[in-house]
């Protein structure tokens, strides 16, 4: 009997991880970008996510559907604990092929600037959510997981996913109302937005191994 992809992943067949990378690499990349706000950090999160997936393959349940929720859950944990994950795979990350410094095309550069501007807007909005709320939002709204899949990915009950999303909605709605013309622009509420806009140009969330290594 031919084994499913899930069974081959559980059994540690490297080729199965190649298939998984082809199927889910893009989804992990986009989720990682939204969580870290940096395309090159997102590439590193992709690598770390799959290395972690390999390490944790024994935790895949024997039966189930797509492995995408499982991988996205790992990606969330990797961005949350980027420093720890990159130390664990420090040697492997050291061998990661470096990203080209200069983009291939001029419009790619323009695209990146545009991405950054859009992201600054998104981050200023989600910057005031709690971490748990941001994570369910990223999985359910941006990566399109349903609530049970997001719950499984994060290892929390479905009810928690619902309540976090409800809280996120309430917070964002309040924020949107404050942003309407006529609202006071310089209230104390504005301050966190400036801070998250500054973070934008700062150090990416995913730790780079050369910065983690002690001298």
């Amino acid at each position: 009997m031919e084994l499913s992809l899930r069974a081959r992943v559980r059994a540690g067949d490297p080729d199965a991880f190649g298939v998984l990378f082809d199927e889910c690499g893009q989804a992990v990349y986009n989720l990682a970008f939204r969580m870290t706000g940096n395309w090159s950090a997102a590439e590193e999160v992709v690598s770390l996510t799959f290395l972690e997936a390999w390490r944790l393959r024994g935790t895949v349940r024997p039966v189930g559907g797509s492995l995408r929720p499982w991988l996205l859950g790992i990606a969330v944990n990797v961005t949350r604990n980027a420093a720890r994950a990159s130390r664990r795979h420090q040697a492997a990350l050291g061998r990661l092929p470096p990203a080209p410094v200069i983009p291939d095309f001029a419009d790619d550069l323009a695209g990146r600037i545009d991405d950054a501007a859009r992201l600054a807007a998104v981050r200023s909005a989600v910057g005031r959510l709690r971490r748990g709320e941001r994570e369910v939002l990223a999985l359910c709204v941006w990566s399109g997981l349903d609530y049970p899949a997001a719950a499984q990915a994060l290892g929390v009950p479905v009810g928690t996913v619902r309540s976090r999303l409800s809280r996120a909605r309430a917070r964002l709605a309040k924020l949107a109302a404050a942003d309407q013309p006529g609202a006071h622009p310089a209230g104390p509420d504005r301050e966190p937005r400036c801070r998250s806009a500054q973070e934008q140009g700062g150090r990416p969330t995913a730790a780079r191994p050369d910065q983690e290594r002690s001298p």
Binding site: A7, P14, A91, G111, A168
Partner: protein, 353 residues
Amino acid sequence: MNASRRRGSDQQLTAELAQLLPVPAERDLPANRQEALKEHLMTELRQTDHSEIHRGRAARRRRLGALTATAAVAAVAAAGLTVTALSGHRSPPVAGPLQAGHPTAAQLLDKIAAAAARQPRLNVRDDQYMYIASEDRWSSTTVTIGGSQRTVVEPLHKREIWLSVSDVCKPGLLKDPSPGRAMKLNDGGDLSCPNRGGWGDPTYRFLQSLPTDPHTLLNMIYAATRGQGQSPDQEAFTTIGDMLREAIAPPDVSAALYRAAALIPGVRVIPHATDILGQSGIGVQFARRVIQSPAPGVPYRETFDPNGPTWVFNPSTLLWIGENDGAVHGKQMGSVVLKRAIVDRLGQLPGGK
């Protein structure tokens, strides 16, 4: 009815949230980067963790320094999954059914435990080092972007390591020609220091702290390795092997580790085992299950691996000689312990300066 209403309200909540937020950027990972990252991943998977047998060793090597990780081996995965299976050069099974007169694994391990328990008890100070010298032979596999593999068997070589008896944060020393030079070892990692290590990187003090009741010990090992490896039993066997190979344990703990191994289902006796130096001994093997495709295009299936990890013991003293980890290109991979001792300083040889 309730469920579908709930699903509806879930979807509405998601949609409302999406409307409250600016649309985030989305892009494809550039094709050349996707290819590069995938190639990197595949190389890492095949080089660093090819098999559960090597998991502990590879983990320790990674911990000890990045350089050795590339030299860590593909013996079983390469041999078991593709290379040897395809070329039809699989070694014949090293053990057939047991003949009458051979002990069961439990009986043999009980005698091995008794022999270990008779070893002298050491007085160890916190500032000392475990010294382990071994002869090693491993292989390394390189995988190219097209998926072709090249497996190279390292020559047999001497390996010497010094590790703190009490604190894994204290630098150690490794002399092994595969990384090419003597190197200082250090593992700060995300540990809080000082740290006496754990199941994957045990110090003498860690091993000393373990219970000597085999059932309690095995349950602790199952709990500590839960979710790792291919099966709880295999992971437990591998973990115990890691603690017996390149470490030093008090006699009663060594004995308890052997008695714990005897409780793992799937452990069997290999009456005539030969270590990598060609010395004959008696073996204890975990009957490893592997996923294998017998030929190109034939579906993968679960089968039994006669090259499973095997501990080899001196047939008369019943002390640990070494470990066999499968064959590559007809050569047995593994290690043989030459000397274990507690020494005062990094780089110091037993009985010398």
